[in-house]
């Protein structure tokens, strides 16, 4: 058998050019499969960890996914606001540790503006309960003096090239498709000063401009029903003299003293009589949401599975095509005492070795790309690619490529077996 393996190696080396190409295509397919799966699992974990440490999100009654979409991902808009009275009622529940109200609806050059309280920066967390961190400056003060202060998400600051102390103007509503080039700023009369920039999180926080709830009130003093009141302008300094406590907010983030009470509080919110409310568990709703947006990612994986299939088919095609030329070689081996089983083993071994080498090369390439591109992807997209040991799923993919390659190599092996039986000593070519 060792004699046969040596011959198999020499024979393969003799056709190294072709086999190297096949090996390369298997390596690419494997790298694609493993890389995509790594990306998929890491995107999934970034996605489902967009919020952590928040036990409930409470908003006007709508669908849970809808509430998550606007409260966390700033996509779409709220069907209704909730009153501050309701927020206070929730905050008064004995199981509730903290509440952070949020108000959405304005934007800055296509980036959503989030009105909230200073507690947002201490209570909001993402990933594995990682708190928000400031890379520059400080959080907004939340006082009348610091009324027009803004804290930028990492992406906003990067994309627009903003620095501390810069003045920015907000727009009313999310201008669809306006993007960063929309200079239309209907709240330009009350400019904000950038006082802080947050570290990148890989969550929607990066795309958000954070201001205080009072600031949201202030810029809407001279507005009614979504439009400026004709003939009424209130100067920025003048606005400080008004009562800026909001009467309505979009939603409220709720933290509990003990997670055990989460369903109690959820029912308490649902039974709130003053107005119809909905409380969702972020983890559950994010999983539901992923089930919707995860479809595309599964299609991608299916595509790379097809790529793997094609490269294995090319392995079979290349070995089969070469078989006719090798019939004499096989006849020589038969004459010196190799059996048809040996020839089957010879060709199967060759295919298996090419597949193994290709798959290993592909796995190494995938790991290399994750290592090399990891920091860049984190910087650019906020997705942490883990250069960790392969997951069970990735081992399974790797095993599937190997198994499929070995099975595919049996096809030419079986053909050689049949040919050598039919040929006898002299190949009829």
């Amino acid at each position: 058998m060792t004699a046969l393996l040596q011959i198999a190696a020499r024979s393969a080396w003799n056709r190294r050019g072709t086999l190297a190409l096949v090996m390369l295509s298997i390596a690419l397919a494997t790298a694609l499969l493993l890389g995509l799966d790594r990306l998929r699992s890491d995107i999934r974990s970034s996605f489902t960890q967009s919020v952590s440490g928040t036990d409930l999100i409470v908003g006007a009654r709508t669908g849970p996914v809808q509430l998550m979409l606007y409260a966390v991902f700033r996509i779409g808009s709220a069907t209704n606001n909730i009153t501050m009275d309701s927020v206070r009622a929730v905050a008064a529940h004995r199981a509730v540790a903290w509440t952070v109200p949020i108000a959405l609806g304005d934007s800055h050059r296509g980036h959503p503006v989030l009105g909230t309280t200073a507690e947002y920066f201490t209570h909001f967390a993402y990933g594995d309960r990682q708190p928000l961190e400031l890379v520059q400056g400080r959080a907004f003060a939340g006082t009348l003096d610091g009324l027009y202060e803004a804290v930028l998400g990492a992406e906003v600051a990067d994309k627009l090239g903003y620095r501390l102390g810069q003045h920015i103007a907000l727009s009313h509503g999310m201008v669809a498709g306006a993007g960063e080039h929309a200079d239309h700023a209907d709240h330009a009369d009350k400019p904000f000063t950038v006082v802080g920039v947050l570290a990148r999180t890989g969550t929607p926080v990066d795309r958000t401009v954070h201001v205080s709830l009072q600031a949201i009130e202030a810029i809407h003093l001279d507005w009614a029903g979504g439009a400026p009141l004709p003939g009424l302008t209130i100067a920025p300094e003048h606005a400080r003299k008004f009562d800026l406590e909001p009467s309505h907010v979009t939603a409220v983030l709720v933290g509990l003293k003990n997670r055990v009470a989460v369903f109690n509080v959820q029912r308490f919110v649902a039974d709130h009589e003053a107005e119809p409310l909905l409380a969702v568990l972020p983890g559950v709703a994010l999983d539901e949401l992923w089930a919707v947006v995860g479809l595309g990612e599964r299609a991608l994986l299916a595509m790379s599975g097809l790529v793997a299939l094609v490269s294995l088919a090319s392995l079979v095609a290349v070995v089969l095509a070469g078989l006719n030329e090798r019939r004499r070689e096989l006849a020589v081996l038969r004459a010196v005492g190799a059996g048809p089983r040996h020839l089957l083993a010879l060709l199967a071994a060759e295919g298996a070795m090419v597949t193994l080498a290709g798959a290993l090369l592909g796995a190494a390439a995938a790991a290399g790309v994750v290592l090399a591109a990891g920091p860049w992807v984190q910087q650019r997209f906020g997705i942490t690619l883990q250069a960790a040991a392969p997951t069970t799923g990735q081992w399974a993919l790797f095993g599937a490529v190997l198994l499929a390659g070995m099975l595919a190599s049996l096809v030419p092996g079986w053909r050689a077996y049949r040919l050598s039986l039919a040929d006898g000593l002299s190949p009829r070519t």
Partner: protein
């Protein structure tokens, strides 16, 4: 040495047998010339003698053992041990050195190895020298040699470890007249020296006078052609 009784062989899918031989005996150490026109079943008969093909009817015994009575693996091992084969052309593995080509049978059969008195490598050297291949060619790839040189390497491979039966299937048809006569002399001398029985197939009747026995396959074969 080799005996055939009541043999009938049909290729798979063929309507009738292509070979039907009632009786054929070849004694040990003889050199036999088997001739007949192309397509009369010479190569098929050689395949049956070497145990590569197996007859459904009748017996083909080599050294008293019916090939058909052995299982596939045992047949292959027995062939490696007792039979050397030379083809018309393309005898060698092109990607292996000349020396390794000669050593191939010893890799598949320990018995052939053991029969080389000073070890397979020494035996291969001696054989290559006797077939007049200079040592400078031994480490070369087999496909770097001329056709005549390749046939001589094939003879050395068939003869290493002194197999009881050497089968040659028109080994001279790709050689010109001068090379052919040299090759014939060399092959016959080496078979006689090693005590191997030689069954030599050709359609070239001029070669017949070199041999102890001459057999005409059309005369032996009773299958309707």
């Amino acid at each position: 040495m080799l005996s055939i009784r009541e043999l009938q062989y049909a290729w798979p899918g063929a309507s009738g047998p292509c070979l039907e031989i009632e009786r054929l005996d070849i004694a040990a150490g003889r050199t036999v010339f088997l001739h007949g026109p192309s397509g009369c079943g010479k190569s098929t008969l050689l395949g049956l003698m070497a145990g590569v093909l197996v007859a459904r009817k009748g017996r083909v015994d080599l050294l008293g053992q019916d090939w058909a009575a052995l299982r596939g693996g045992a047949r292959d091992a027995r062939r490696a041990e007792h039979v050397g084969v030379i083809f018309q052309q393309f005898n060698l593995l092109p990607y292996v050195s000349v020396l390794d080509n000669v050593l191939l049978p010893c890799r598949f059969s320990a018995a052939r190895s053991r029969r080389c008195a000073d070890g397979p490598v020494a035996a291969a050297h001696a054989l290559l020298q006797r077939v007049a291949l200079p040592p400078s060619l031994w480490p070369r790839r087999a496909d770097a040699l001329s056709v005549g040189q390749q046939q001589r390497v094939a003879a050395a491979r068939a003869l290493i470890g002194r197999p009881e039966l050497v089968i040659a299937d028109e080994p001279t048809s790709a050689l010109d007249a001068g090379l052919r006569d040299d090759f014939m002399r060399l092959l016959l001398d080496e078979c006689r020296a090693g005590g191997s029985t030689l069954v030599f197939v050709s359609h070239d009747d001029r070669l017949a006078l070199h041999f102890d026995e001459r057999l005409s396959l059309p005369a032996l074969n009773r299958a309707p052609s």
